[in-house]
Amino acid sequence: MKKIDIGKKILTENEKFALENLLFFAKKKKLCLNIISSPGSGKTTILTRTINELKDKIKIGVIEGDIQTDIDAKRIRATDAPVVQINTEGSCHLSAAQISDALKQLPVDDLDLILIENVGNLVCPSAFDLGESGKIVVLSVPEGDDKPAKYPAIFARSKVLLINKIDLLDGGQVDFDIERAKADARKLNKAIEIFPISARRGDGMANWYDWLVKSVEKSAE
């Protein structure tokens, strides 16, 4: 047997495109956020409400990632925000090359913020940088407060954690200890910003908007 040391990175193709995207956003002074969560945690509802309520303050464009269909893109289009739908045809995450293509179809110069809604999946998307300025992880209360402990990678890498559907806590139908989720998320990531929200009813959205508007202003400097 003969062994040869290689020491070569795998997945360099994705990294190459991610770096290109990162430089693109830096040059254009645009903020780009990659939103990651399990399926059904409310990403699209968060997006549509955010776009509508911040309409007068910031212009948002959206890249929608789904395995199949343009159901989400249609919901975004109803807000009049520019949107590009990517169908991954079975793949469980978006890749940086797909984002690079989608950016050519968005009027980036007219936008302040590009939001990427990744494929619903709490695991794989965390391993693929898209060249975004930051990751936003969404956890909805019916999923359980143990998720930050069980899926640490995405919580360790995100700038913001949105704990969604807190309106469901009112009737006591759902057990979810917000303090436990916060403490577990912060174990690996002291800097993570955590906003409990209800995108359906509107609770807590103002805190998220404040963070978003400030971050957009910082990117534009």
Binding site: K9, I10, S91
Partner: protein, 120 residues
């Protein structure tokens, strides 16, 4: 589930090295950070599937998961994080900065030596 993409990328490098060394690859060692969600079994399965009928068929994969490194903000010690108890082993501080997770790296390839043409 994204292991197929990893397997493809991995196979491309192994095939390239095999052609360059004119030898049959039999094993490969890869490493990645603990936060990288690569499942060893899924990766082996994906690799086996795409390597069938290629020079990479039969290559055994060994995956090493590297610990997550962190730097304590209190005493500035560098240490490996225990996911079950994330604190500084030196001062017990819980305020630390995570280092970037180790990349997915193909560390080494093992080739069969009974090849007639053994040049490195």
């Amino acid at each position: 589930m994204h292991e197929t993409m990893v397997a493809q990328s991995l196979m491309a490098i192994i095939a390239e090295q095999a052609a360059k060394n004119n030898a049959k690859p039999v094993a490969a060692k890869i490493s990645c950070g603990m936060l990288n969600p690569v499942n060893d079994e899924v990766l082996r399965f994906a690799f086996e599937a795409i390597a069938k009928d290629t020079p990479c068929e039969g290559v055994k994969l060994q995956v090493e998961h590297k610990p997550i490194r962190a730097r304590c903000k209190n005493c500035e010690a560098n240490f490996d994080i225990e996911l079950s108890l994330p604190e500084c082993p030196k001062c017990g501080g819980a305020d630390f900065e995570l280092m970037p997770d180790a990349s997915l790296i193909l560390e080494e390839i093992e080739f069969q030596t009974e090849s007639h043409n053994e040049k490195n």
